[in-house]
Structures are given as C-alpha cells and as structure tokens.
Symmetry: C2
Subunit: 212 residues, 2 copies
C-alpha cells in the first residue's frame, strides 16, 4: 500500500500571512507535513510514503517526487503512473495540513472495506481519500470536492464510505485554525507555534490565539 501527500512549500499557507512571515509560514507548513509523514510512517501501513512536492525538500522517511503542475493534474498523473506500472495497490492521498492525524486514524481509514473512503475536511473539502484501485478513480479537488469525489465514485460503480474524524477534518488554513493545533496537537506543528510565541487566548467566552 502507498501513501501520497501533495505539498507546496513556496508561499505556503498564504491565509496565515497576517500573523506569520513568509519564512515562518514555510517553517510551519514543513512542521505540519512532518507530523503527517511521521504518522504515516509510524502506522506501518505503507511500503512507500511519497511527497508530491513542487520543490526539493528534506523530509525523513518520505520519498520526494517532484511535480510542478496543479494539484489535480499532479495527483491524477501519479494515479495514472501507478496504473501504467501495474502498481494496482491501494493508495491513500492525504493533505499536508492536517497535523492532528493519529496512527489510529491511518490504520482505521486504510482498513475500510469500501472501494473508496473519504475523510471530509470542513466546508466540503477532502482531507484524506483511500482508493482501493487507483486505475478506477481520478481526483477533483477545490470547491465541494467531497461531493465531487462521491459522485465520481458512484458514477464508476465504486462503493464509498465517509470516514468520520475530527482529527482528519481539521485542515489548518486560517488564523482561527491555529487554536485547534494548540488545543489538540502534540507534534512538531504545535511545537513550532509555541516556539513562534503563539498561545491560546480567551476572547469573550470563545477561544482564540495570541502571539506574545
């Protein structure tokens, strides 16, 4: 079984630019990727963990595959190559910005019996998708990709399961999302935020973050 994480380091996490410099955003994005990749490796579920990256990066335990096209093109090319090399093994596509993912999450989603298992992100995204037979599926990210992926699967006669996980649903894009990393994170992403001076802050009965 394979896992693949698409990743873009340059101008990563632009919606955090109000609070973080370019360099800090790259550092934080790398810390999140590192948490995700380390969890995949620790799960023991995969023969190969590939990172489909737009630039050369240094990451322990993962295999860096350079890709300079868009997200959908890069991933569909990846799935196509697996098929053409007769690598008809299952693949898990997982986003680089979900640092709360646990080893149990990975073992559970890759044990789903359906042809396709989708872990939704908030607001209709697809944060992880397990594809039993890559030759029979293609991805279509952006917008309500959760609905699009269900439709693609059903059109191809594939069975689909929705994988219910708060950890996997928590993609970190906005300033408010940093609170989730501080509340629940135990890995490098949480460590990176703390090192950069972030802490939880109460704000009128609600939780937010402040930078000291």
């Amino acid at each position: 079984m394979r896992a693949v994480i698409p990743f873009k380091k340059s101008n990563a996490k632009s919606r955090l630019s109000a609070l973080l410099t370019d360099k800090e955003r790259e550092e934080f994005a790398m810390a999140m990727l590192s948490d995700v990749a380390a969890t995949l490796v620790r799960s023991g579920c995969f023969d190969v963990v590939d990172v489909l990256s737009t630039s050369i990066i240094d990451l322990e335990g993962a295999n860096i595959v350079l890709a300079d096209s868009g997200l959908n093109e890069a991933l569909n090319e990846y799935l196509g190559k697996m098929s053409s090399h007769s690598l008809d093994e299952p693949v898990l596509i997982i986003m680089a910005d979900i640092p709360l993912v646990s080893v149990k999450n990975i073992r559970d989603i890759t044990s789903c019996e359906s042809d396709i298992a989708i872990a939704p992100g908030r607001m209709g995204g697809t944060n992880a998708i397990f594809i039993r037979d890559p030759s029979r599926f293609h991805v279509d990210y952006y917008g309500a990709s959760f609905l699009k992926h269900i439709e693609i699967a059903q059109k191809d006669g594939l069975s689909v399961e929705v994988f219910d996980s708060f950890n996997l649903s928590t993609d970190v894009d906005e300033v408010a999302d940093l609170a989730e990393v501080l509340l629940h994170g135990k890995g490098r992403a949480a460590g990176c935020l703390k090192k950069l001076g972030f802490a939880l802050a109460e704000n009128g009965g609600r939780v937010g973050v402040k930078r000291m």
Copy 2:
C-alpha cells in the same frame, strides 16, 4: 444509561440572525434538537432521554425537564440530583446543535472504557461528554471547556478518552456552519434549511450557502 440535552428555544442561535428571523431560528434549532434526540432514541442505548429546556417544548421520545438557570448550573444540578437519588448510572451530555450525529457515534461513545469520554467541538468546546459516574464529575462549559473538562477529570483521578468525530465536532452556530448541514445532513435540520430556501454556493473556490 441516561442522555441529557440542554436546550434553549428563545433567541436560539443568535449568531444566525443575519440570515434567519427569530421564528426561523427557533424552527431550525428545534429541527436540530429533533435530529439529536431521534438519534439518541434510535441508538437504543438509553432508558431515558431528557431535554433540559428553559421552556416547555413538544418533542417526541424525549422527557422535558424544565430548567431556568444557566447551562453549568442546570447540568450540575441535574448530575447532583442523579447522585442524590442514587441513580449512579452513566450519563451522556450532548449538545442540541450537532445534527450530524449518527447512531454509530452514540453507540461508540457510550462504549468507551474510560471514566470520561469527551467529543471536542471546534475551538475548544465540548459537544458530547460521556460520564460513567455522575457523582464524581461536574461540568464547566464556555471558553476552552474541552481543556477544563480534561483537567476536572484528571484532578479527580478519572481516566479520560478523547472521542474523535467530525460529526460530533460540528456544532452549528455561524452562517458558515449551515454549509456543513447541507453537505452532510440527512435529517430534519437539513430539510428545514432546504425548506427555507438555502442551498450550497461556490464562492471563489470555497463552499458557502446562499438563500434563494
């Protein structure tokens, strides 16, 4: 085993007032409560499903308990009464605004082996909490209640488990949250929004809602 849902009908869901009238907000809040209560009943896990309500409401399958104090006071009084009547059975406290909750979620959280199981809401909330022995716990909602509840449990020597669920984490407070109900909901809350003219809308590659 018991379940209790705290509920306030009057001026419910005030953060939706930009898009919904008072009456519509009450109707939507009742639809969400109805989804949660029906799921609890269907799970078959509980002898009693109580709704701790600030006003008399009509709800099938649930027992309405009037309470006019604040959330923490009402729930702690409820837990105290259980203890004083020697009802030392486990209790699940679950919020009324998480309409995506499934029967499987309920069966799983009430099967947790720890003394306390907490399903976090987004931004540090507590959307469901399973308490094995109500005489040994009290609640403290608002702010980062997730962290407060873990601290209360640990101070009392109780074991704690975090219950990982996107469904349970999705409390519906803000306009943006309505998209989650339209994307994933299959019950009365989703039906209510559709009846009121809401639909998903793409907005610059992101998903939102529009009202027709």
